[in-house]
C-alpha cells in the first residue's frame, strides 16, 4: 500500500524532460499571439469606455472580483499599448526570455480582456486563461528557444529533469473540457435525436449555410453521434501511450473538420490541438522508459 505522500510525489513530482514544457510554452505563446491578432480589430469597441460595453456592468455581471487592467486603462491609445505589450510578451515567452514574468503579463492580459468584455467571450478565451494559469506556476523549460529546440541550431542547452505536475494538470484540463461538454450534450434533446449537426449547418456558424442541409439529414445525424464519440475518445486515446498516435490523428482530424465546416472557429481548433502537446513525449529519457516498463498502468498518463 502506497503512502499518500509517496502517491502525491509519484503523480505530481515525477521528473520529465524540460523540453516538453518548452514545446508547450512555445505553442501556447504562438496561439496566444494569434488570439491577440484576432482580437486586435475589436479592441477599441470592446475594451474602451466609449465602446459597446460599460465597465460597471461588466464588473458586476459575475460573482468574485473583476481584475481587469482595462478598467483603468480605457483610452484607445492605452488599450492599443496594452495589446502591443501583450503581443511582445508572447514573443519573449516563446523565446524563453524572462519567461515567468512574460507568462504573468499574458495571464493578466487574457484575464483582463475576459473580465472587461465577458459578453463577447468565446470558448477559446476560457481555455487560454486556464492554460496560462497552470503554466504560470509550472516549469517552462525557458533555457530552450524555438531556434535550438525545433531547428536544433545554435548551442543546445543541457536537458533538465523537472516535475511533471503542469503537464498532468493540462492533461486533466483537456479531459474535463471534452467530457463535460459531452455530459451536457447527451442531456440535450437535439443531440439525443441526432439533429444537432443539421441545425449547426443551418446557423451562422456554418461555412455553407442553406436549405440544402435538410437533404443530407441522415449523414448529419451520424455526424452528430460521431462528434460525441470522438469527444469522449480523444482524451482517453491521447492518455494511453499505445493509442496516442490514433488520438492525435483523430483529434487533429476532428478539429480540422470544425475549422473547415464552421466559420470563425479556426482559433478554437488551433488552441485545442496545441493542448495535445501536454500528452506527447518526443524526448523520453532512458530512466522514464525504465519506469514505464516497471509501472506500465500508472505511467500511462505520462
Amino acid at each position: 500500500m502506497m503512502a499518500p505522500v509517496e502517491l502525491c510525489s509519484m503523480i505530481w513530482l515525477r521528473p520529465v524532460d524540460s523540453r516538453r514544457y518548452a514545446l508547450l510554452r512555445m505553442a501556447f505563446a504562438a496561439v496566444t499571439l494569434l488570439h491577440i491578432v484576432h482580437l486586435w480589430p475589436y479592441r477599441i469597441a470592446l475594451l474602451c469606455n466609449d465602446g459597446m460595453i460599460d465597465p460597471l456592468v461588466a464588473s458586476g455581471s459575475s460573482p468574485g472580483f473583476s481584475i481587469s487592467v482595462f478598467a483603468i486603462v480605457a483610452t484607445p491609445f492605452a488599450v492599443t499599448l496594452g495589446f502591443l505589450v501583450a503581443a511582445s510578451a508572447t514573443i519573449l515567452l516563446a523565446w524563453g526570455k524572462l519567461a515567468r514574468p512574460m507568462m504573468a503579463i499574458v495571464f493578466v492580459f487574457l484575464l483582463s480582456v475576459m473580465q472587461r468584455a465577458p459578453i463577447s467571450a468565446s470558448g477559446w478565451d476560457y481555455i487560454l486563461i486556464n492554460l496560462s494559469f497552470i503554466l504560470l506556476f509550472s516549469p517552462l523549460g525557458n533555457t530552450w528557444t524555438p531556434w535550438n529546440l525545433l531547428l536544433k541550431k545554435g548551442t543546445l542547452p543541457e536537458a533538465q529533469s523537472v516535475p511533471r505536475y503542469g503537464l498532468i494538470l493540462i492533461q486533466l484540463q483537456v479531459f474535463v473540457i471534452y467530457w463535460q461538454t459531452v455530459l451536457l450534450k447527451i442531456d440535450n434533446y437535439f443531440w439525443q435525436t441526432g439533429d444537432f449537426m443539421t441545425y449547426f449547418m443551418l446557423s451562422h456558424h456554418s461555412r455553407f449555410p442553406g436549405s440544402w442541409v435538410v437533404n443530407w439529414q441522415g449523414l448529419l445525424d451520424m455526424m452528430t453521434y460521431m462528434t460525441l464519440l470522438v469527444e469522449l475518445a480523444i482524451p482517453v486515446l491521447l492518455w494511453i501511450p499505445r493509442t496516442r498516435r490514433i488520438g492525435l490523428f483523430l483529434g487533429i482530424g476532428f478539429h480540422l473538420g470544425i475549422a473547415v465546416l464552421g466559420v470563425n472557429l479556426g482559433i478554437f481548433s488551433i488552441v485545442m490541438v496545441s493542448t495535445f502537446l501536454a500528452f506527447i513525449n518526443p524526448w523520453q529519457q532512458p530512466r522514464e522508459k525504465a519506469i514505464q516498463v516497471n509501472l506500465q498502468p500508472q505511467e500511462s498518463c505520462n
Partner: protein
C-alpha cells in the same frame, strides 16, 4: 527549503486538479458561491458548454436610425465608438456581443449600450433628438418552441427557405445634447 517547495507544489497541484475535476462532478458542490467567486476572479471557471444548445440565428444585421429636429432621418452603423458599420457574420465577436445584448438576460448590457449610443450620436451631430435601433434577424426557428422545432426541417424542405426574417425596433430613445444648441 526543498521539502517546502515540494509540499507547496503538491498542494497547488492538488487544489488545481480538484478545481478542474469538479467540472465533471454530477452534483452541485456545497460552497458554490464561494467557489464560483474564486473561479471567476482567477479565470479558472469550468464551463465547457460549447454548442450544447442549438444555434438559431443565421444572420443578424443592426442599423441605428436617428431623427433631427426637423424630422429628417439619418442612418448610422451600430459600432462604438465612431458609429461605424460592421458585419457581424464576418466578425464573430461583434456577433456574440450583439446576440447577447439583444436576447433575454442581456438587459444591463443593452441599457448601457443605448446610453453610449446616445452619447456618440450627440457627439456626431448635435441636431439629433432621438434614435432607434433596428435589428433584423434571420432565424431558423423564431418561436423556439418544441412544436415549431419538430416541424422545422419539414418546413425548410417544403419552402426551400432555411430561415425566417424577423425585424425588431428598439426605441425611440432620446439623445441628450447637454444643451449644446
Amino acid at each position: 527549503m526543498q521539502t517546502l517547495y515540494r509540499t507547496l507544489t503538491v498542494a497547488f497541484a492538488c487544489l488545481c486538479a480538484a478545481n478542474i475535476l469538479a467540472g465533471l462532478a454530477p452534483v452541485t458542490l456545497g460552497p458554490t458561491e464561494w467557489l464560483s467567486a474564486v473561479r471567476q476572479t482567477t479565470g479558472t471557471a469550468q464551463n465547457w458548454s460549447m454548442f450544447h444548445s442549438i444555434p438559431r440565428v443565421q444572420r443578424l444585421q443592426l442599423l441605428v436610425i436617428a431623427s433631427d429636429r426637423e424630422g429628417n432621418q439619418h442612418e448610422f452603423g451600430p459600432g462604438l465608438p465612431g458609429l461605424q458599420d460592421i458585419k457581424p457574420h464576418e466578425s464573430i465577436r461583434y456577433y456574440y456581443t450583439f446576440e447577447r445584448i439583444f436576447t433575454p438576460g442581456g438587459e444591463p448590457y443593452r441599457e448601457s449600450y443605448i446610453r453610449n449610443l446616445s452619447r456618440a450620436l450627440s457627439k456626431a451631430n448635435p441636431d439629433l433628438v432621438e434614435f432607434s435601433i433596428h435589428l433584423k434577424v434571420e432565424n431558423t426557428h423564431p418561436q423556439n418552441t418544441r412544436q415549431e422545432m419538430s416541424r422545422l426541417l419539414e418546413r425548410i424542405r417544403k419552402s426551400g427557405k432555411a430561415a425566417i426574417e424577423q425585424k425588431n425596433v428598439f426605441g425611440p430613445f432620446p439623445i441628450e445634447n447637454d444643451g449644446a444648441s
